[in-house]
């Protein structure tokens, strides 16, 4: 299963792998928001947490439709399904690879964008922590959505429709942790809820995703 992780990472970094696209999107998104809202720094620092969480979420979504679709198209998924590895583990590894190539870079870029959006310094560690804890859930939920829509002709759009409502609790708790840190309220409990959602998603969703993949492979 480590082989699958390594291969997905190698594919992401090779030419045409799409690594960095999500990051670039995140950057552009964070640049466009002040252009739409106005340059008032007070207002920006109020919405910085939500904007960054939303940007990270959309950037994650951007690369999800490739998660299983490419392996499905070239027949790799058929072969992996007959290999002596559990499909649940394959899903988990692919979600992990997706997080390492999309989620983790977003987490690392977020403080820079936080400065751009005038996020108060005291909230910065909370931003890092909430994104680091919350983005794995985004990858796991996304892997489930990608497994449901693999093999559909216009799966990309449907994928967004299925996945975004599932992102609601992660977004609420993740962004709330940062917003509360900005206003000096208790930020720990939403952060812990975020962690709970991530752990639950990582533990349970691979089973649902593998079931969906098996249905789509028949």
């Amino acid at each position: 299963m480590i082989a699958i992780l390594n291969r997905d990472l190698a594919l992401a970094f090779r030419a045409g792998g799409g690594f960095g696209l999500g990051l670039a999107f995140f950057l552009i998104f964070a640049t466009l928001v002040p252009l739409g809202i106005g340059p008032d720094t007070g207002q920006l620092s109020g919405i910085a947490a939500g904007t960054l969480w939303l940007g990270a979420l959309l950037a994650c979504l951007l690369s999800l439709d490739r998660l299983f679709q490419l392996d499905w198209e070239d027949g790799t998924l058929d072969l992996i399904a007959t290999a002596p590895v559990p499909l649940e583990g394959v899903v988990l590894m692919k979600a992990l690879a997706h997080w390492l190539t999309t989620g983790l870079p977003l987490v690392l870029l977020a403080p820079v964008l936080g400065i751009l959006l005038n996020l108060p310094g005291a909230a910065m560690p909370w931003l890092l922590a909430s994104l680091a804890i919350g983005t794995p859930a985004l990858s796991a939920i996304g892997a489930f959505g990608a497994a449901l829509t693999v093999g559909l002709k216009r799966g990309g759009l449907l994928l967004s429709l299925l996945v975004l409502p599932l992102y609601v609790p992660t977004l609420i708790f993740g962004a709330l942790a940062v917003t509360r840190a900005v206003t000096g309220q208790d930020a720990l409990s939403p952060l812990l809820y975020t962690a709970g959602i991530t752990l639950g998603a990582l533990a349970l969703l691979p089973f649902a995703a593998a079931a969906a993949l098996r249905v789509n492979l028949r």
């Binding site: 449901l148 409502p165 609601v168 609420i172 809820y193 969703l205 649902a208 079931a211 969906a212 249905v215």
Partner: protein
Amino acid sequence: MASIWEYANPRKFITTAEAVLPYVTVLAALCLVTGLIWGFFFTPDDFRQGSTVKIIYLHVPAALMAINAWLMMLVCSLIWVIRRHHVSALAAKAAAPVGLAFTVIALFTGAVWGQPMWGTWWEWDPRLTAFLILFLFYLGYVALWEAVDNPDSAADLTAVLCLVGSVFAVISRYALVFWNQGLHQGATLSLDAEQNIANVFWYPLVTVIGGFVFLFIALVLYRTRTEIHLRRLKALIAQERMA
């Protein structure tokens, strides 16, 4: 004693549905007409809310059934996953647009009610937001049914989505309460309250709720019957083509 699973046979289901449907339809119409006329014209205005309170007769039953429709889909999905009864999957499929419509009614009447009461059409109150998110779940569910060609695969995939979606819907509900305390009034109905609202409002409300329940049952039976006919038609066409 005949097993309840007999009705999982499509043919048997249709015969039963056709026997039951006239009664359910008439009951639904009776309850709705009586309850709504009673509620709209023969109840006093609320001392605080004035006549706007009367939208309660549409809002509360629609909201109630919007959630119950999803619960019914969840049960049907579980039956399909565990026992592979096709009718169950088709009933879940048939219920989704009905639940979607109830959700839209609840949202719309809520906005109409909220305008005079809170001075705004829309408020990011946890309960309202939860319904908006429920609406999105319904949309995704219906869209997934439409997108998958093979009907059995579609049934499997939507069932998995319904199970996972239910868990996330519940988490979202609690997340929303955490997120904003809200200004929606307390639940109109709750089972443990001694008396929920004054009797003058209560009786017509229960009548309309009964009407909505019968309406839901009737619509789901009609739609499931249509879905079964559709599957039968597809099967006949496939048979013709392969012969």
